[in-house]
Amino acid sequence: MDHLSSTFAALSDPTRRSIVDRLTDGPATVMELAEPFSISQQAISKHLAYLENARLIERQRDGRQNYCALKPDTIREVADWAEGYRRVWQTSFRRLDALLAEMKSEKLSSKLVKPAVKNPKRS
């Protein structure tokens, strides 16, 4: 699997997404990461291994403590791929904004232009 696919696969799980979200605040120990979840530390470790394999996180050692930290390059890659696809749609939707504005003003002007039709008086 190419690396971007493994990144997406890693992010397709809500627990892993929560872990990644927590790590945007800074590095954390495995215990700290497991804390908000009701699943076992072993299960958390499996998720962390998945994230590490997808190069989203890396292990750091600070003295005697082991930490997990985000790898910013991978996150940036995910943000970058969205740009090309996003730009194309952004451009199209901006045209749609202009078209809708035109449609609205046409609708409004057609209501203003129609004269009120009164019943002709009988002669």
Binding site: L4, S12, R87, V88, S92, R95, D97, A98, M103
Partner: protein, 165 residues
Amino acid sequence: MNKSAALKIAPSGEREIIMTRAFDAKRDLVFDALTKPELVKRWLLGPPGWSMPVCEIDLKVGGAYRYVWRNEDGREMGMGGTYREIVRPERIVNTELFDNAWYAGECLVTSLLSEQGAGTTMTVTLRYESTAARDSVLESDMESGVAPSYDRLEEIVISNTTTAK
């Protein structure tokens, strides 16, 4: 000019892309803009330099649609599918397949329109047949071969929209 509404695009789950965009118009107008060929041609053009010589829509369950875009240097890109559900003015479900698809399988597109005051929020869910297909769409460089200058394009779009008012 209206401030551009934020476009959200994100992968979801293993096989989907979800796009969300708000529009400053009621649902019936947005629904028309999505389903009348003479209107679709006005905006569904992708990167700069592309025109839409073919835009056919048979808006009924089981009906087909067909789009062909052409680049300034003659390159063409075709796409089409059939409608599975049509509920005016709130929902359209259709299949989507590119002629020279670089990924396997069809995509199922669900477009939902919901009212937000005087405006409409559109949520489009694109569901691919595999994670690989979904990811390759997001990675695809639809702009290849064109040398867009997006800053310049934004200037043009902004000035056109302003003068139109």
